[in-house]
Symmetry: C2
Subunit: 206 residues, 2 copies
DNA sequence: CAATAAAGTGAATATAGGTTCATATTATTG
DNA sequence: CAATAATATGAACCTATATTCACTTTATTG
């Protein structure tokens, strides 16, 4: 007997796992999923390609993690806006806040947000994106349900409406976020956000 | 001097071009863009792979044609619903008709419609899809503009609203159309269409 | 240090599918 | 039929990455 993983090595393992994930996110943020190759990640993290496979089973898993990490914080923010601690706000107000947060963060995040929301990616990554969108739809759906209970919103299928809102958000943001699109500030960001918010609010209202 | 293309050969050329395009559409309708390979098309049309390249410069061009052919009829139908000869209908009514037609045809077309609207595809094909969605957005945008002029609709950015509608349509139809989704009839198709229509109409209304 | 196990390496391998091209076939006309 | 040109063929080629694996390096403990 002569070897056993110790806390130090475990820590190193965790650190490297994180550094690989960070590297992957950095690649996507800089050049999109199009540039997310195993060797690009390896280079960015200054390790060999084989090392990546010691930490991620395969590319699909790596993509999943990038989405999870990238969207995790985003989804959290939207969730927080939709269901704040302070329970005094109306559902209408909260829906508006949630949409605004989503759009603002997407517009601020630029390349990375575009990659998550709309960059043409290969089918494996696209499958991950569908899950990511689903998480948003869940938030909106719950909020709409509550709004119906409180009779703030018209009676409707909350799942359908939630999907429609996510679709509307994604599609309207594709243009402004797309490659070659005017940089943030070139167009009136506030106007865009107001437009989307108004569109969605009117749609759910009584 | 001893050879010159004749009407007969030209006709054959046109026929073969069509048969290749039909083959490509058939492949997509059956198994999606995922299965659209040059050799699949060649097999389906009973020609050699090289022959495909006599008629289509490369795969991207072939994809473009599949989208054009596949969506051409769809876009036409929506256009016809949005701008009918009979000018007596209100914009509201026409918008409702256009949305209904879009959804109905997508739901009826099933696999092919799913492929056009939402199937995860590789970036080359996705780029074509964006153009296709743009065509729809153009129709809705014009209609909304007219509706504002006639004071049927609230003042709004017609381009933004049109994008939102296209996004809402695509996203809400993805689920029902997706692979493994219940076959048409399993869910209440009419209810779905009504839901989307209501959502969009309320959103544009004064 | 010796023994052992894990982590790291990166060249080699595997695959898939788009694209090419030398060759064969077919059509047209004098 | 001979000459010519267009069309068709499909095996071979190319490219781009994901993935593997024999080997090296590093960490741990008696």
């Amino acid at each position: 007997m002569a070897y056993r993983p110790t806390e130090k090595t475990e820590a190193h393992k965790r650190a490297r796992n994180k550094s690989l994930l960070d590297a992957a996110i950095k690649v996507v943020a800089k050049e999109g999923f199009q540039a997310l190759t195993i060797s690009a990640v390896a280079d960015e993290a200054s390790v060999a390609t084989g090392t990546v496979y010691k930490y991620f089973e395969n590319k699909a898993h790596l993509c999943t993690e990038v989405f999870r990490a990238g969207s995790g914080r985003e989804v959290e923010q939207v969730q927080a806006a939709a269901f704040p601690k302070d329970r005094s706000k109306s559902c209408r107000e909260r829906l508006s806040d949630a949409i605004t947060i989503f759009a603002q963060r997407a517009l601020a995040g630029h390349r990375f947000a575009y990659a998550l929301i709309a960059e043409p990616v290969d089918p494996m990554v696209e499958a991950e994106r569908l899950k990511y969108r689903h998480a948003y739809a869940g938030i909106f759906s719950s909020l709409i349900e509550e709004g119906m209970d409180r009779q703030e919103f018209a009676l409707q299928d909350p799942v359908l409406t939630a999907a429609a809102i996510v679709g509307a958000l994604a599609e309207t943001l594709v243009g402004p976020l797309g490659i070659g699109a005017p940089a943030s500030g070139q167009f009136n960001e506030q106007q865009l956000i107001d437009g989307i918010t108004t569109f969605c609010l009117k749609a759910v209202q009584k």
